[in-house]
């Protein structure tokens, strides 16, 4: 038969074992088991409580995990009144750059190529945009802080955000507008 302890059928029942303990030992065991259960429950609740927010939202909103910076303006075509903008996107969590525009009435912008750009964590991605000046009238030539409207989507949310690239972008736009429209062009 081998090891009788592995048999099972001739094992004393739980009630029989319990009956074998003295009253004092039984009380001690009941008390300690209750304590252990309480402690286990407390630890489980504390851990669950601490990890709950993180588990619910593992990915932060795009605005908190993605950086977009201005790199350069290039391919300026005065005849077509067009130019291209290069941006650099980095992210902590996978994100799609779905749209880049600037809400000037006299300017149109679209991604180039037009497909959304996938940016992966730890890999900087180049994002290119083609811009066209539709009218030189009312074009804000000397604005100090133009911003780009960018639509980002990640596993958490889709957000329309403003990215304000600062002085260098503002100066680059001024130069382009003057090149494309000329210092006196107002049509």
């Amino acid at each position: 038969m081998g090891d009788v302890l592995s048999g099972g059928s001739d094992k004393p029942r739980l009630s029989e074992r319990w009956g074998g303990f003295s009253r004092g030992v039984r009380r001690l065991i009941v008390g300690l088991v209750c304590c252990a259960l309480l402690a286990g429950a407390a630890v489980w609740i504390l851990r669950a409580d601490r990890s709950a927010p993180a588990a619910r939202h593992k990915v932060p909103y795009p605005v908190h995990s993605t950086r977009i910076t201005f790199v350069r303006v290039f391919d300026i075509d005065a005849q077509k009144r067009s130019f291209r903008i290069e941006l650099r996107a980095v992210t902590k969590h996978l994100v799609l750059v779905r749209r880049v525009t600037q809400q000037y009435e006299a300017l149109t912008m679209e991604l180039s190529p037009p497909q959304a750009v996938t940016v992966r964590p730890g890999q900087a991605r180049r994002v290119r945009v083609t811009a066209r000046v539709t009218s030189c009238r009312d074009l804000p030539v000397r604005a100090r802080l133009p911003f780009l409207d960018v639509t980002l989507r990640n596993a958490r949310a889709s957000q329309d955000l403003s990215f304000i690239p600062g002085d260098r972008y503002a100066r680059a736009l001024t130069r382009v507008f003057r090149t494309v429209c000329g210092p006196v062009s107002r049509s």
């Binding site: 094992k11 304590c35 927010p53 802080l145």
Partner: protein, 420 residues
């Protein structure tokens, strides 16, 4: 007998093991609690973090939010034993939004040889009056709310001549150099509002903000159909309201704070104008809506940072603030105040680590080292990643536009300033 005994002994062994493990777990929890309660047996140094804000008067709602949020940071640091061997204490002083009082408070805080850093103030003009006092004493100051650019970048910042005047000055909020132009771009291009009536309260913050807004708005092609200056202590703005109504302005830009801003907006509405009032972070307060009631529906305010609701790091702060039972809300600068206080705590921590586990014996040395350490402080705060640039300004330059909808400020746009 033998078999029965072996089984019984094994059951006992399992039970005993379970109980022992549980008891050890409990005792470990117990010892952590003791420590977090500040009851550890090691010798502890108590240092003070000062807070200066308007705790009474019209702007007290914002000031109390600053004080409570700093208090929460100090309590959290002590509870978690954030800096080994150091207990933090808070000393808050009321500047009543007055530059002179702020300066007196600065002198008082410098005179207390337990003070290692100061959080505050709210108002830029008060901040200006305190800077030199703290600068002379090498005492670090982190403002959660000053937005006037000159405080960190010097008086000629607008001409591109940026110069840091005080190594002791830091801030966690972004500046009006971004806030004013961002509002102008948003209103002109996105909302298509082309005619502005610009009003300010002649103070450092209000006039400065209105100036940066106006400059950008005009460059975009916007038309300024009227301007006015008001006294921030007045509450009767009916004459200005009538002028705004006659001007047919699309909106009013107000550089100033909510105690005058709310009645100004209400009286503009009552004068028959439908122009919304737009302003900066000092209009982004629950008090603005309480004071202006339905008359301020549709008004807009830009404020520093992204909405706290979108930040996972802010959720714990909001929950802890609620459970701490503070009577007044954390308001516009609560998260920034918590982060300002935490930045001082982290700078103290860096100094302790640098000095073999304790602060220097001399308070002057401590203050100097805390100021130096602040420049390199970096942590994930309530408002996002906290760090400072070469001017002492925050590297986290986010801001949002809020609109009063249904009696609440609702976020409508968020932007990030990211100089390439």
């Amino acid at each position: 007998m033998g078999k029965g005994l072996i089984v019984r002994h094994r059951s006992l062994l399992i039970l005993t093991t379970t109980v022992t493990v549980s008891a050890l777990t409990l005792s470990a929890c117990g010892s952590r609690d003791d420590k977090s309660g500040g009851g550890d047996s090691g010798e502890k140094t108590t240092v003070v973090i000062g807070v200066d804000a308007p705790l009474t008067g019209d702007l007290s709602a914002l000031g109390q939010g600053i004080k409570n949020s700093s208090d929460l940071a100090v309590k959290t640091a002590n509870k978690n034993n954030e800096v080994e061997g150091v207990t933090f204490k808070l000393e808050s002083l009321d500047d009543q939004a007055q530059a002179g009082t702020g300066q007196q408070n600065a002198t008082k805080l410098v005179g207390n040889d337990k003070v290692v850093g100061v959080v505050g103030p709210l108002n830029s003009h008060v901040g200006q009056s305190m800077q030199k006092v703290f600068g002379n004493a090498d005492l670090v100051q982190v403002s959660p709310a000053n937005t006037a650019p000159e405080l960190s970048q010097g008086p000629n910042w607008q001409k591109g001549d940026k110069k840091r005047l005080f190594d002791t000055y830091f801030r966690t909020s972004t500046t009006d150099a971004v806030q004013g132009p961002y509002a102008a771009q948003y209103l002109f291009n996105k909302r298509k509002l082309k005619k502005a009536y610009i009003i300010d309260d002649k103070k450092t913050y209000g006039a400065g903000l209105a100036g940066t807004f106006s400059d950008e708005f005009k460059k975009l092609g916007g038309k300024v159909v009227g301007t006015d200056h008001i006294n921030p202590d007045d509450r009767d703005f009916s004459a200005v309201g009538t002028k705004v109504a006659k001007s047919k302005a699309d909106f009013v830009y107000y550089g100033g704070e909510y105690p005058a801003g709310a009645p100004l907006s209400a009286q503009i509405t009552k004068a028959g104008s439908k122009a919304p009032v737009v302003g900066g972070d000092a209009l982004y307060s629950e008090e603005y809506i309480k004071l202006g009631k339905k008359n301020v529906e549709g008004d807009l305010a830009t404020s520093v940072g992204a909405p706290l609701e979108t930040l996972d790091t802010a959720k714990t702060f909001m929950e802890n603030y609620k459970s701490a039972g503070y009577k007044l809300p954390y308001e516009a600068y609560g998260g920034y105040s918590y982060d300002s206080t935490w930045a001082i705590i982290q700078a103290v921590k860096a100094v302790v680590e640098k000095n073999d586990g304790k602060l220097p014996d001399n308070i002057d040395d401590t203050r100097k080292q805390v100021t130096e350490a602040m420049q390199d402080v970096k942590f994930k705060g309530v408002t996002g990643d906290v760090a400072f640039d070469e001017y002492g300004d925050t590297t986290n330059k986010q801001l949002s536009v809020y609109e009063v909808k249904g009696g609440k400020h609702k976020p409508v746009q968020t932007g990030t300033f990211e100089e390439g």
